[in-house]
C-alpha cells in the first residue's frame, strides 16, 4: 500500500529526496530474503511502502514519531542479510536502510571497547580493532553482518565464544531510539561518562534489548552501540599475507603458518563421547580460545561445489574420525603462557584417551584451520550451493547428521533405506514416553482464566493437548507425530497403529489403501507449512496483546515471534525452569482478579 502524497512528502523532508524511494521496481529489491521462503513459502513477500536511508539519530527519531502519528509501521535494517530482515507484517510499512550510518566512532584501547554505527560490519570492526591489537570473533553468518545486528538485534554466535563471548553479551551500552521516538542511552552512556560499561549508572536493559534471540528490528532502532574488544596476539587478521599461485581461485589463498602466539592442535579421540568430555574439560578450564567440532573447522573448501564434490569422492572424509576429532586453539601473551595452556590441553587429551593424528596436524593444515576459524570471510557453513543447512548436525555429531538426513523430505520419499531408519527411530523416540510438564499445565490454567487466544507451537509431541489444552486452540505449525499420513492418497491413521506394524516386522509399512509411502504428519525440511495453520497463527498473534514465549529460545524460525516483532508486540520469554513461577504468578493474579 502506497503512502499518501502528504506522508511521502513529510518523510522526504526528513531525509531528503535522494534518500527515499517508493519506486515499485526498487522496492522489489527490499522484499526478497531467503527466510521468507522458509516462513511463508515464497522468497518474495509484499514490498514496503517506501525505503528510507536516514543519516542520523535525529532523522530516525523524526521518522519514528511521524510513523506513529500516521499509523505507519517501520523497521530498521542494516545489511539485510538476516533471514527475515526485510519482512514487514503490513504493506503500510517502511524500511529504514541504515547504510549512511556507517562509521566506527571510537576504538578505546584502554577500556577495550569500540563504538559503532548500525552499518559497520564485523569485518570493518575487525580491521580497525585488529590494527590496535584486538579481536572481535568471527560471526558464524560471515563478516558481512553488522556489529549492531549481531549484538543487539539478532541471535548470533561465534566459534570463538569461549574467548570473545557471545555477541549479545558484549554490549556496553547503546543509543536506542525507542518505538516512541524517544532516545534511551543504556549504561554509562546515559551519564555521558563514556561507553565503557553497560551496567549503569543508567539503565541496563540488555536483557530486553535482545534477550536470547533478538527482536530483529521490532523494538525500535539502535543507532550506536559500544561492544567489548578482546586481546589479539598477532598481526591483524585483515593484514595477513595470503599466498596463492597465479591463476588459483581466491579461496585457495592461505597463510603459511599459525602466528607465533597461537597454537592449534587437532585432537582425535576413541569415540565422540570422549571427545565431548575432553572438550568440556578444556572449555571449563578456560585455557583455550577456540574449541569447535571438526566438521566446522576442516572446511578446506575447493573453489566451487563441483570441485569440492570431486575431492570428497576421490578421498571421502572419514565421518567417524570427524565425529571424534576436535581442533583446539590456545593463545597467550608470552611463550610461557602459551606453553602452559598447550600443556593443559594435552593433559585433557590424554585424560580422555586422545591423540594427535599426524595427518591432521601438519603445519599447513593447522594454518588452514586457523585461518578458516579466525578469519575466513565466507560464512561458517559456506553458502555455496547450500552445502549444509544450519539445522544440520547442530551438535556436530555424525548421528545428528544422519538423523537430519532421515527427515529431509525429498530424501525420505526417494530412499527406502532412509525410511526404514526413520521408522526405527520413530519407534524408539522418547516422545512416546514424554509427559506434560508444569509449563504445559500453566498454559492450561491460563486458558481456563479466559485470557488465552491460542497456543502456537512448533512442537510435534501433542503434550499441550494431553495436559488439557483445548485442541482447537493448539496450532501445531510443524504438525504432529501422533498421526501418520499417506503421501500418495492422504490416508490418515494414528501413528501408534503404524508403529505396531513396524514392531510386527514391516520395516517400511506401505499405505493399506494405495500402497503409497507413509510418513508421520509432521512438517519435514523440504515440506511447506500448512497454510491454514500458518494463517491461524498469524491471526492469533495479531489478535493478542502479549506473546508469552514459553520454553523456547525463539532461535528457530518461529512465525509467531516474527509476527510479534513485526507488530511491535511485547514478547516475554520464559524458560522452562520458570514454569512453576508462572504457576505461582498466575495463581496470584487469579486471586487478585475480581
Amino acid at each position: 500500500m502506497r503512502l499518501t502524497t502528504e506522508e511521502y512528502k513529510a518523510l522526504e523532508d526528513i531525509v531528503g529526496a535522494e534518500y527515499i524511494t517508493q519506486d515499485p521496481v526498487i522496492l522489489e529489491s527490499y522484499c526478497q530474503v531467503w527466510g521468507n521462503k522458509l516462513e511463508f513459502g515464497d522468497k518474495r513477500h509484499h514490498p514496503p511502502a517506501a525505503v528510507l536511508q536516514p543519516a542520523s539519530t535525529e532523522e530516525i527519531q523524526a521518522i519514528v514519531r511521524f510513523c506513529n502519528k500516521a499509523g505507519i509501521l517501520f523497521k530498521p535494517s542494516a545489511r539485510a542479510f538476516e533471514y527475515v530482515a526485510t519482512y514487514l507484517a503490513r504493506e503500510r510499512g517502511i524500511l529504514l536502510e541504515l547504510k549512511r550510518m556507517n562509521r566506527i566512532l571510537e576504538i578505546d584501547p584502554v577500556n577495550m571497547h569500540a563504538v559503532v554505527e548500525p552499518f559497520v560490519t564485523m569485518y570493518q570492526l575487525l580491521d580497525a580493532a585488529g590494527k590496535q591489537g584486538f579481536y572481535v570473533g568471527k560471526p558464524g553468518v560471515g563478516y558481512s553482518a553488522a556489529v549492531i545486528s549481531l549484538a543487539c538485534c539478532h541471535q548470533e554466535m561465534t566459534i570463538s565464544q569461549l574467548y570473545t563471548s557471545g555477541y549479545g553479551r558484549n554490549v556496553l551500552g547503546c543509543e536506542w531510539v525507542l518505538p516512541t521516538g524517544d532516545v534511551l542511552n543504556l549504561g554509562t552512556a546515559n551519564r555521558e561518562d563514556g561507553w565503557f560499561s553497560g551496567d549503569g549508572p543508567g539503565f541496563s536493559l540488555r536483557g530486553i534489548l535482545r534477550g536470547r534471540a533478538g527482536a530483529n528490528g521490532g523494538h525500535g532502532v539502535i543507532t550506536k552501540c559500544s561492544v567489548k574488544l578482546y586481546p589479539w596476539y598477532a598481526d591483524s587478521p585483515t593484514q595477513f599475507e595470503l599466498k596463492r599461485a597465479p591463476g588459483e581461485a581466491i579461496s585457495a589463498a592461505q597463510i603459511e603458518k599459525v602466528p607465533d602466539n597461537y597454537r592449534v592442535n587437532v585432537l582425535t579421540f576413541p569415540d565422540t563421547e570422549s571427545m565431548m568430555r575432553a572438550a568440556q574439560d578444556i572449555g571449563q578450564s578456560e585455557i583455550a580460545c577456540i574449541v569447535a567440532p571438526a566438521y566446522l573447522n576442516t572446511g578446506f573448501h575447493e573453489e566451487g561445489n563441483d570441485e569440492q564434490w570431486a575431492k570428497m569422492m576421490a578421498s571421502p572424509p572419514d565421518p567417524y574420525q570427524i565425529a571424534r576429532t576436535v581442533p583446539v586453539f590456545v593463545n597467550g601473551h608470552s611463550t610461557r603462557e602459551l606453553e602452559y595452556r598447550e600443556r593443559a590441553v594435552m593433559a585433557a587429551m590424554e585424560k580422555w584417551g586422545g591423540h594427535l593424528d599426524p595427518a591432521w596436524n601438519t603445519e599447513k593444515i593447522k594454518a588452514q584451520i586457523f585461518m578458516y576459524q579466525i578469519w575466513s570471510t565466507g560464512v561458517q557453513l559456506r553458502a555455496t550451493g547450500d552445502f549444509m543447512l544450519s539445522t544440520q548436525g547442530l551438535d556436530g555429531s555424525l548421528e545428528s547428521q544422519l538423523r537430519y538426513r532421515t527427515v529431509e523430505f525429498q530424501a525420505y520419499r526417494e530412499d527406502p533405506e532412509l525410511r526404514v531408519t526413520a521408522w526405527r527411530m520413530r519407534r524408539d523416540h522418547p516422545v512416546w514416553r514424554a509427559e506434560p510438564n508444569p509449563a504445559h499445565r500453566a498454559v492450561v490454567d491460563l486458558e481456563r482464566s479466559g485470557r488465552l487466544v491460542a497456543v502456537v507451537t512448533q512442537n510435534i509431541d501433542g503434550l499441550h493437548q494431553r495436559a488439557g489444552s483445548d485442541p482447537s486452540r493448539v496450532l501445531e505449525l510443524r504438525g504432529t507425530v501422533h498421526e501418520t499420513e499417506c503421501l500418495g492418497c492422504g490416508w490418515l491413521a494414528p501413528t501408534r497403529e503404524v508403529l505396531a506394524r513396524v514392531e510386527a516386522g514391516e520395516p517400511d509399512p506401505p499405505c493399506p489403501d494405495c500402497g503409497g509411502i507413509l510418513k508421520v504428519a509432521t512438517v519435514s525440511p523440504g515440506q511447506a507449512l500448512d497454510p491454514d495453520v500458518l494463517h491461524a497463527a498469524v491471526t492469533a498473534v495479531q489478535d493478542s496483546e502479549l506473546l508469552l514465549a514459553v520454553g523456547t529460545s525463539l532461535t528457530e524460525s518461529s512465525v509467531a515471534a516474527r509476527q510479534a516483532e513485526a507488530y511491535h508486540k511485547a514478547v516475554y520469554m520464559l524458560a522452562p525452569r520458570f514454569a512453576e513461577e508462572i504457576d505461582r504468578e498466575l495463581d496470584r493474579q487469579r486471586e487478585e482478579t475480581p
Partner: protein, 425 residues
Amino acid sequence: MAWQDFEHDTQRCTRCSYCHYIPWRYIKDFDYMQGCPSVARYHWHAFAAGGKFNLSYSLMQGAIEIDDSFLDVLYKCMMDGSCDIACKVQQDLEPLQHMQELRIECVDQGYLMPQHQPFLRSLRNEDNMMLKPRAERGDWAAGLDVKRVTQESAEVVYFAGCRYSYDQELWPTAQAGVKLLQQAGVDVGILGADEACCAGRAYELGYEGELTKFAEHHADTLKTVGAKVLVTPCSDCYGTFKVLYDKIGKKLGVEVYHITQYLEKLIQEGKLQPKKPLDLKVTYHDPCHLGRLGEPWIHWEGKEYKPKGMQIWLHDPPKKYRRGVNGVYDPPRNIIKSIPGIELVEMYRTREYAWCCGAGGGVIDAYPDFAQWTGAERLKEARAVGAEAIVSACPWCKRNFLNSAEQTGDDIKILDIIELVQESI
C-alpha cells in the same frame, strides 16, 4: 541461456551483499571498499547484481513489468563484472550473465533505451558506435607509414577499434602503438577505413544479433586478408574478440592479443628496450575487459542436480566458473616495471577487484554524469596512493578519465601504457 533460466540463481541469492563490495579479504582501505559503481552511486539494492536477481524474480511472478524505471535500474550499470567476481567468492551463481540476458530480453521485447538508439543507428549504418561516418574511420592513420592489409599482406593486423579511430585526442596513442610494433620489427598492417566495430558494446546493451553479425564479418575479413595474428590496443575490442566471440561460437580463427601482451613479449625478447628513465610515480588501472572480463570463456552445457539426500548443488558435467583470476593482469605491470626510473604503486582495488573507469556497458553514452562520477572516484583513489599518473590500457578508460578530470579539475596525468613505452624507447 535465457533470463528465466536463472530462476534458481534468483532463489539462491542470499542477499549477502558481496556484489556491492570487493571481497572482504581484499579490502585494503575501507574508503575504497565499494566494488559496484551503480549501488555506490544510486544507493538502492536494486542497482546491485543481487537486486537484479530480485527484479527478475518479481518479473517472473508478474509483480512488476518492464518499464522506464526498470530500464533505468538495469542500464545504470557498466557491466564491469565486479559483482560477478565478488559473488563467486561466496556462491556459485552467475550475476553478470543474468544481467546480460535481462538486457537481451529487453531488446528482444522491444523495450529500448532512447539514449542508445543513435549509437545503434550509427553501428548499423556506419559500422561504428561513435556517431561518425564510415569513410573517416581510417583518418587516425593518415600520414602513418603502415601497410593496409586489404592491399598488401602482413603477419599482424593492428586493430584500432572505434574509440581510437574516431577520438582525435587519442590518435597519437593509436599511432604510437603501430610505431612500437614497427620498431620491434613486426610485420604489421591495419585495416584502415575497412575496419568495423567489434560490436561488444552493442552486445552489452542487449543487441545480441549485432555481435553475431560483426563476428562473422570480422572472421571473413581476416580470412580474406590472410591474417594470422590480431593485436588491439583497445581492451573492449580484446574482450569481444577473445571472449564474446568464443561465447557465441564465432571464434575469429586468428590469435588474438592485447597490445600489452604483445609489447611484453617484444620487451622480453629484447626487440624493444625501454632505456630512457622516466621519473614518474604511476599507478596502473586494470581495464575490466582486459582483466576480469578478459578471462577466456568457459563453455558448459548440462544440468544442475542435488546428489540423493545431500544439500549440495552440483553440475553434470562439472561446471568450471569464470572467477576472474585468468584475466590479463601481469603483462601491463611487467611492462611498467621494465621502464627505468618509473615507480609503480598499486591502488587499493586492483586486478579482478579493480574499480571500473565508468565507461562500460553504454553508461558513457546514456548516463555521462554517472560515467564521470565513477571515473572521478578512480582518480581520487590514484591520488590517495600518491600516484602522479594513472596509466591504463584502454582508450575508453582514458577517454572517461579525461572527461572526469576535466569536470573535477583534477590535474593528475592520464596516460595509456603505449605512451609510457613510447616515451622510454
